[in-house]
């Protein structure tokens, strides 16, 4: 299955992936309208170090602890993609507690949110990857 993988060596720490993610999942067609003067809640996040940066998003584990620990059944595996049904999520954060990568976060709505590989938005393919200027994140089979 294709997943988003990190090539840490090439990450510039530009944070464009975060903005592209927030935009892709905003449901809007204009980035300015979607993001201007707002705090963004991206599902991918860049970690910053002295000279190292890398972006982290859901690994879509074959053996997902978040799904196993979900108290409401809101998290499930859909064709390999760990999906969240935000309708069912009550925001208990057991998944935040369970995820070894720290890839599930809060959203504006109170339910948790996570990367769903852009399968649920209009783009259909991960926009963090599409917008990465240096191939630091890639969407591929490994």
């Amino acid at each position: 299955m294709k997943r988003v993988y990190v090539n840490e060596k090439w990450c510039l720490g530009c944070h464009l992936c975060e903005y592209n993610c927030a935009f892709a999942n905003s449901g809007m067609t204009d980035m300015v309208k979607a993001l201007k003067d707002r705090d963004i809640f991206p599902r991918i996040r860049v970690e910053e170090g002295d000279s190292i940066n890398f972006a982290v998003s859901c690994r879509h584990c074959d053996n997902p602890l978040c799904v196993k620990g979900c108290i409401s059944g809101a998290l499930s595996i859909q064709d390999g993609v760990i999906s969240i049904d935000s309708n069912k999520c009550v925001g208990c954060f057991t998944c935040v507690l369970s995820c070894p990568y720290g890839c599930i976060s809060t959203s504006e709505s109170g339910a948790v949110q996570k990367c769903e590989l852009c399968t649920k938005n209009a783009d259909g393919t991960p926009q963090c990857v599409a917008g990465c200027p240096n191939n630091a994140i890639v969407f591929e089979e490994r």
């Binding site: 530009c14 464009l16 201007k36 200027p133």
Partner: protein, 501 residues
């Protein structure tokens, strides 16, 4: 100094309606032009630091940025232009030589743009390169003047060492030091994939790149940095660099600060020491001396590698080339005055040397006149900007071309011409690791390959239009060229007729 004589050259125009304060401009500008003001809650800029490299513009996700030239001006003066005045201010302040980089930007004639290419009509049919074979592969090196046969009549294959180019385009010398590791890797990989060559420049060959040896030309310059037996034998050819178009007659100087561990190892000089290339090779004061070095290098490489001698295009280039063709060299590379550099004194870059078009025509003619044209191949560089320039160069007599500025543009260079600061935001002309990593060779090599592929298509199309189906048939075929707006002398040197003739 309390008085600020220099007004910033550029203005950063930020469209406040589009800026989402994502701060990518801030994070990507090594010049530290942009920053986010937490009190004002918006991005602000210090344009005095802007070098107009467009990194911020290119990465801004909402196209909120553009850079424009300031319209702040001195009183109109066609002689004492703003630039001239500012250079005086700068030197009055620093007392130093002005430094610049990339090629001569001045408004001298561009002969390529005054030459037009022929096409077939009726009497000799043009060729459709999509249907017919079209040979753009070429070989560089000495050509045999006679065919020798053995007693059975079989041809004796006693060809001199040659370079096989699948496209008539090579990447010219750029040292590791002047450009980054990732830029070198991009060039090396693209050369391998496209069946052509890149050139180490005078900085030696990084140990990681020996694997690209069959597509590498290793250079021997006046500083002899990194030169040893394995290095010479690692490449497909050895180039003796006498001069370079951007700074004919002078040497080079890589400041010690830039000679970090990796570069020190590659150049084979102590870490932190200045790498000084003398103006001349101190063992070459005549063609005879040159011949000695040519044969020393042939000896060191067991006569298996062609030797290139690279000179800058200067006034008596034809006579010099004639000498080189007799020195035993296999290839002459000529670099025109528009050729780029990582750093050169501005006055030299902008005032020394001659146009490559004229140099090429006169060298080719001189060697023909002397009957020694087949002794050598001719490679020209120094602002080959597109495939039409290449077609014209070949028709003027070149065997192939060297490109560097166009290659760097493919890698992201925006010709801001501040390579000498070492803070290239595109990861090309820098050794700062956080900047070098901005150039991913996966992307860089692909873009270079795309460029060569595109130009190859265009070369085939133009050749087909002329009814020519091989580079060999185009070479020196000056009948395929016509001048436009050129005077008699220029036409005479170029060896072409005027349009309409």
């Amino acid at each position: 100094m309390a008085i600020e004589y220099l007004y910033p050259q550029f203005e950063v125009l930020r469209n406040p309606d589009r800026c989402i304060a994502c701060r990518v401009c801030e994070r990507q500008c090594a010049e530290e032009v942009h920053h986010y003001d937490h009190d004002l809650k918006k991005m602000v800029s210090d344009e005095s630091k802007c070098v107009c490299c467009h990194r911020c513009v290119s990465l801004c996700p909402t196209r909120a940025l553009k850079i424009t030239k300031t319209n702040h001006q001195f009183r109109e003066n066609a002689n004492w232009t703003g630039e001239v005045i500012q250079e005086v201010y700068r030197q009055a302040e620093s007392g130093g030589t002005l430094l610049s980089s990339m090629g001569n930007p001045k408004d001298y004639p561009i002969y390529w743009d005054k030459i037009l290419i022929n096409a077939s009509q009726v009497t000799n049919p043009s060729i459709d390169p999509l249907r017919e074979p079209m040979e753009i592969r070429t070989y560089l090196g000495k050509k045999p003047t006679a065919i020798e046969r053995d007693e059975n009549g079989k041809i004796i294959p006693n060809l001199s060492p040659r370079l096989r180019l699948d496209v008539p385009i090579m990447f010219s010398a750029m040292s590791y030091g002047s450009i980054s590791y990732n830029a070198h890797e991009s060039l090396a990989r693209a050369s391998r994939n496209m069946g052509t060559f890149y050139n180490t420049g005078e900085g030696g060959l990084h140990e990681d790149f020996y694997q690209y040896g069959p597509n590498t030309i290793v250079q021997v310059a006046s500083g002899r940095f990194g030169v040893e037996k394995d290095y010479l034998n690692a490449g497909a050819a050895v180039e003796i660099k006498i001069g370079q178009g951007a700074k004919p007659g002078i040497g080079g100087h890589l400041p010690g600060a830039k000679v970090a561990a990796d570069i020190s190892r590659t150049r084979m000089i102590p870490e932190g020491t200045d790498a000084i290339s003398p103006a001349p090779h101190h063992d070459i004061y005549s063609i005879e001396d040159l011949r000695q070095l040519v044969y020393s290098l042939k000896e060191a490489t067991a006569y298996k590698k062609p030797i290139i001698v690279k000179i800058s295009a200067v006034h008596n280039v034809a006579a010099i080339a004639s000498g080189i063709a007799r020195s035993g060299a296999d290839i002459i590379a000529i670099d025109g005055y528009r050729g780029g550099t990582g750093a050169a004194p501005t006055r030299i870059r902008d005032n020394v040397g001659i146009p490559i078009e004229l140099a090429l025509a006169s060298v080719d003619q001189r060697l023909r006149d002397e009957g020694i044209r087949d002794n050598v191949s001719i490679v020209v560089g120094g602002s080959i900007r597109n495939s039409a320039d290449i077609v014209k160069a070949i028709a003027l007599g070149a065997d192939a071309v060297y490109i560097a500025t166009a290659a760097l543009l493919s890698l992201g260079c925006h010709l801001c011409r501040t390579c000498q600061k070492g803070k290239c935001n595109w990861g090309i002309a820098t050794q700062r690791p956080e900047l070098v990593k901005r150039l991913n060779p996966d992307i860089g090599s692909e873009r270079l390959e795309n460029l060569l592929t595109a130009w190859s298509h265009e070369i085939r199309e133009m050749m087909g239009g002329m009814g020519i189906n091989s580079i060999e048939a185009l070479r020196g075929n000056r009948l395929m060229l016509r001048g436009i707006g050129l005077n008699e002398k220029e036409l005479e040197i170029l060896g072409i007729k005027h349009a309409g003739e």
